[in-house]
Symmetry: C2
């Protein structure tokens, strides 16, 4: 049973990595060149928006982090000393939470920045961009969707981490470990 749970975590992390890499690639390799005015060409890349640039870095970092956790999983699951187990479980929980929050945050920041490119802002005299570069914008939209899927997967992983930590505590006494 315990094995089933560990396997579930591995699957979740693995699919999170796949989706994160897919999302980063979709953003990073997205370019579209258009003739704007009087034969002047303009090339749209993810460098045009700060939020997208940060999003590529963060998505790659999150994929790397999950890969490291998978490696740790496959090497450390043999020994099971109680003290070090709790320490590792707490660190995993903490890092998983941070990873989810940062991935979700940057992804939502990219959505906000991209929405501005779709709608523009009359009050601030910012013009729309996506009616010119529509293919570019659709690909970014797909990447952001992948980012949310990855966030949900990582949130599930961090719930498993929380389960692994807190089930070791006594239900009756505050923050006291069970004597099993």
């Amino acid at each position: 049973m315990k094995l089933g749970m560990a396997r579930g975590e591995v699957y979740l992390r693995f699919s999170a990595i796949l989706v994160l890499v897919l999302s980063a690639c979709l953003v990073a390799f997205d370019t579209q060149t258009k003739v704007v005015l009087l034969g002047i060409q303009k090339k749209a890349t993810y460098n045009d928006l700060h939020a997208l640039k940060i999003s590529v870095y963060v998505t790659s970092a999150a994929a790397g982090y999950n890969l490291l956790q998978l490696c740790k999983h496959s090497t450390c699951s043999r020994g099971n000393f109680k003290g070090s187990y709790m320490c590792m479980a707490w660190i995993s929980l903490f890092l998983d939470q941070i990873a989810v929050y940062i991935t979700l945050g940057t992804n939502t920041a990219s959505v906000a920045a991209s929405m501005m490119a779709v709608t523009g802002s009359e009050a601030l005299q910012w013009m729309k961009v996506c009616d010119k570069f529509s293919r570019f914008c659709i690909q970014i939209g797909g990447a952001l969707l992948c980012g949310y899927v990855a966030s949900i997967l990582m949130a599930l992983v961090s719930t498993i981490s929380a389960y692994k930590v807190f089930r070791m505590y006594s239900p009756k006494w505050f923050l006291r470990l069970k004597s099993t």
Copy 2:
């Protein structure tokens, strides 16, 4: 000891509500009027940016949710039946997690939108706004800082919720309740 933990949760929720309300008020009551060009006045409000508008709604909703949880806490803490306790604890954990993710998400979206107003974007021909409306922008910055403080407080609350759920499970058997 259990009482100390419950009291901690109440304090955390209460301070989260205060900070959320402060953040919503800072954004909602932030206006600045400036003469832009040839005597034409321009008034900056949070309505100019979609992200800020959504942020006000979400912050208020999060404050309301935490208030409801506080009310529930003060009425339901008497009876302690095991089945309904687990059900309530799971629902609380689920809602707390959703609340944290949504608050953090909209807050980061507002930061991204505001950063665009600070830096502008040369590639997209969007002009800077904050060099004209500096007091307005500083107040928004304070509100976004409050939003992050609230997110951290709510993340702590959701960790307590997770502790309350998962300590009831056996450390040896997968998702089996303890027999105490």
